[in-house]
Symmetry: C2
Subunit: 185 residues, 2 copies
Amino acid sequence: MTRSQRPMRADAQRNRAHVLRTAADAFAVEGLSVPVHEIAKRAGVGTGTVSRHFPTKEALYAAVLLDRMGELSGYADTLATEHDPGTAFFALFTRLIQEGATHRGLAEALAGSGFDIEAAASAAGCNVSDRLRRLLTEAQAAGAVDPAVTFADLKALTAGCLAYDGPDPDRVIEVICRGLRPVSG
Amino acid sequence: MTRSQRPMRADAQRNRAHVLRTAADAFAVEGLSVPVHEIAKRAGVGTGTVSRHFPTKEALYAAVLLDRMGELSGYADTLATEHDPGTAFFALFTRLIQEGATHRGLAEALAGSGFDIEAAASAAGCNVSDRLRRLLTEAQAAGAVDPAVTFADLKALTAGCLAYDGPDPDRVIEVICRGLRPVSG
DNA sequence: GAATAATCGGGACGACTGTCCCGGATACGA
DNA sequence: TCGTATCCGGGACAGTCGTCCCGATTATTC
């Protein structure tokens, strides 16, 4: 329980990070059905290495998702400090939908396994939901977003949105964002 | 090639229809990962029965999807004759998103297997895409939908949309529909 | 530089799923 | 009512995937 029970060996850290990146890419491109053996092969490590860092496949899902949420949290913080509320909100929201498109399925698979991703993210200090909620409130106060829009609406729009990766995915986001703006313009 | 090579036996027809309904429910509730054995058990038939009517699991996917498309086509035709273009368009679009939420994954799984669902639907005379395209054109002519919206946009919005089944999914659809209407109101 | 403990690689095992097959049962036509 | 072709049930088989384990290797510490 002493916080430094022992630092991870350097090569182990490298391997873990590399596997995580490889898994993220594989899941994004081919979905969750990619075998663990295949991820290990692509990462250039043995299956045992993957198994040790991530005891089950679900643990691998969770780690990938937490990693992305950490990155998104940083992006959200940057936006909040560098832009006005409306701009920041729409930028984050757009990014979340794009991420949701890529990593759809992932959160879903975890939800079905009794893993609370929100709680895990909060514990890690990278809760994206809280940041989006705050930006929504601020953007509405600034008149950039329709006051009738609720946080639940946003969750619904981002949570499982947009598998279609056609020629022009940005058009879709544009349509949705237009629906969020105040009616008067 | 004589068109009545032999009608299917009555019990076989019943079984086929029952398996199809059971499979549709199972896929909708639990996703595509439901084993064929499980579907057979729930339908109260043996695995051989499922296997004969639908030689592979993909054939089962395709049959379920074609069945839904047939129903949706009928709905589209009803709407087109009983309502004005704008109303009919939004009603069909809403329904398509709801269906897309339920049977997401399905079309996707088929697309990855070289099965052309659009062509199959056209052959069966139940091409929903064509009906949606026509309604879009008419609704735009009637001033109910923004002229800048393209059919590709609609496909993107419906194709893989909305896995989230929270407390109020209709709000999501409302937001999207508002984004489709003309800017002037 | 050597001892030690952590980590690695990849094969093995068990569980699961899709597909096929065969003896028994049943609906259809005469 | 009876014969026959069709269909049904469920067990068997093969392939795949997730997980675990062991001997070899390598980073870390003294």
